[in-house]
Amino acid sequence: MLTPFILRQLKISALLMPILCSTLFGAVDAIAQTASAPANLVEQGRRIYLEGIDGTGNPLQGVRADNARLVGAQAACVNCHKRSGMGSVEGDILIQPITGNYLFNPDKFQLATMDPRTGKKFNLTHAAYTEESLALAITSGVNNSGRKMHPLMPNYPIDKSDMAALSAYLKELSKEWSPGVSKDNIRLATVITPEVEGVRRKAFVDTLQKAVMQKNGSTLTSQNKKGRRHMISAAEMVLGTERTWTLDIWELQGAPETWGAQLEEKYKAQPVFALLSGLSNSTWEPIQNFCENTQVPCWFPSSSLPPATESFYSLYYSRGVNLEADVLAKYLSGNKKPKRVVQIRRDDIIANEAAKRLNTSLAAVGITSEDRVFKAKADEPISIQQVTNGLTSDDVTVFWLRRTDLTELGKSTPPPVKAVYFSAEMAGGEQGIPSSWQSITHLIYPYELPDKRQSNLTNFHAWQTMKKLPLIDEPLQAEAFFAVEFLTETLAEMLDNIYRDYLIERSENMLSRNEAIKSEQQVRERVMWSKTGSTAKQQGTSIYPHLGLGVNQHFASKGAYIVGFTKEGKLMADSDWIVP
């Protein structure tokens, strides 16, 4: 075996092995050893932890080292220790995990990766807490090794009943792996809504399945002894906590109103840990609602219409067409305001919502807009003549159309207007824009510009070529690929702590950092290993210029460019990156 060999070589086995072994073999039976506390006690603890409300219904009070008083929600444990209880990292401050497993079972010392970029990478070992030593820590700020805790940690003068309740809650918190997780496998599903075009559906499913297959192929398990370690996390590599994935494809049928029930049924039949990626040309609201109600992470779907309502379990690339509408309104308002904007679309939910949003945004900056809708049914081709009546060279037109319709447009000459705008989100990038329209055409472009993004997507393109996957829809396929990669990395960093809340918290905390680390790494690898490798600077690994999340910040990319075409048909930026 390679692993023990290396440990011996590095002469660290004496120190490290007890930790590793206990973690490797202890993690499973560390769970569920404590008898369950009465539900009302756990509920009392939950309110303290999440809401900052004590057993008498009053706001929780905490006093920090600088005598600052924190009251109620501000004083709630969840702010720093998070919903999962797994703690977090901010700057140089490591906020330790405080679940029952971590506090009371240090003999089965469990490891949590704190921050891959700092030296102190893991949670600290400590003696087992007892109810008494935990109470002392919380009331006086002295931990069970006799040290003052970090000054950010307030002292809470809570009574015995609240202390018992909090302790009972912590023992229940992240007690077991989430549903869909076993010792060596994680079950996932991807949701596809019924109206998606066959070609894109196939490209999407092929990309996703091949990426998952690749991930599983390189996961070393008892079933797959030939797997090659990803080496995403050194700790993961030594501990061997990585699992293979099973990916279910959940194809929805019928009207959006029925999707919620379909999802619940599928989930009931086969619970999954998370929804990985996803594809829709329609509303995503029923899927987000399902994720929120069932507390299942909804991991970076390719949706053009994520709901605007806040959710804990859903992470998105961007606000989709709503973002595009805001960006265009901002651009047009600053740039010789047009007299009139005419929006042209099919009667479909995404286009309708986009137009509605743009109307509102344009009205706010004093630009008149008008809506025109193709009469064609969903399966009939559009006819441009239906919508161009009375358009003049003073007008700006915005077409909210999919790529299949662009081909139809290309058969006619463009209308005699000042400028034509298309949604890159709906059109799937610039590929479908008819060349005869390019001279007056612009795109709202939420992606990184083609010349800049080539280095970001080097690995994706190399992989896709190697797997002989045709590039049908670059944004879609690059998004699906990124979703698999980022989930692989985040799960690997989570080691054996496979809890849904923790997955969301880690990605909130890590996405932008992870992108920076990975970009540097990929450039270095290209320079190191490849004779012909490009040394071009790389800003990220997705099709977007940069991605970042935060607490309640679940749209990773926040802006878009406005782009046009050169005479040679190359894309060029008309604007800087616009963040509305």
Binding site: L2, I6, L10, I12, L15, L16, I19, A65, D66, A68, C80, S88, E90, G91, D92, I93, I95, R117, G119, K120, K121, F122, L124, T125, K148, M149, H150, P151, L152, Q214, S218, R228, R229, H230, M231, I232, S233, A234, M237, V238, N459, A462, M466, F481, E485, T488, E489, M510, S512, R513, K518, W529, T541, H546, G550, V551, Q553, K558, W577, V579
Partner: protein, 209 residues
């Protein structure tokens, strides 16, 4: 690190080398976790460092919480004493603490708070729109002399770099408060767990000089 999809064909010795590098990293970091505990954990005394440094204010454009686009140079060098920090609205541990300290400083300055310009720079400018910053300011009771600034990613990074506050990512940021008596004077840099009294004392000392 990412090795999920490796377009390069590594030979076995290259793979082995990678393994060893990873193990070495793992070993050294694990051992460090057992090392000394920072001073802040050991005592109740607020642990922060104080240094005096001169900085050149960068000439970038920023957007104030009221939506106005302004030259940062003019905002910072308008003659008033400045107390400055770096925050972002979706930050859950350090920034609420920093903003809480600022809020206390505002109160403890008493009448002097009308003379001082308190400046909070967003290090997550694409998310921290003027509307979000206004809401955030309200939460901490920011008065008329306490402004929040956002802008482009580029301008925010330029400002962070100019004041040695750039850590590569918003999640890497550390607690820092800067105080300056007047344009052209050096800045006092208070780093770590700074209490409001220390900030007010710093301002009073500087303004007497």
């Amino acid at each position: 690190m990412n090795f999920l999809i490796h377009p390069l064909n590594l030979t076995s010795w290259q793979t082995l080398l990678y393994f060893m590098l990873c193990c070495a990293t793992f070993a050294s970091t694990s051992l460090q976790a057992e090392e000394s505990i920072p001073a802040a954990r050991q005592s109740n005394a607020p642990a922060f460092t104080r240094t005096v440094v001169s900085y050149v204010t960068p000439d970038v454009s920023v957007i104030r919480e009221d939506g106005k686009r302004l030259p940062f140079l003019k905002e910072l060098d308008d003659g008033r004493p400045v107390i400055m920090n770096f925050i972002f609205a979706s930050c859950s541990a350090i920034c609420p603490m920093l903003s809480h300290v600022f809020s206390k400083v505002q109160t403890n300055l008493g009448k002097d708070s009308e003379k001082v310009h308190m400046v909070s720079i967003s290090i997550d400018p694409e998310n921290d729109t003027p509307a979000k910053l206004t809401e955030y300011a309200k939460k901490f009771g920011a008065g008329p002399n306490w402004n929040y600034y956002t802008g482009t990613v580029g301008s925010s990074i330029a400002i962070q770099k100019a004041f040695s506050a750039y850590r590569g990512d918003k999640m890497n940021h550390t607690s820092l408060i800067l105080v300056r008596a007047a344009p052209g004077k050096p800045w006092t840099r208070l780093e770590g767990f700074v209490n409001p009294d220390a900030v007010v004392n710093e301002y009073r000392t500087l303004s007497k000089q």
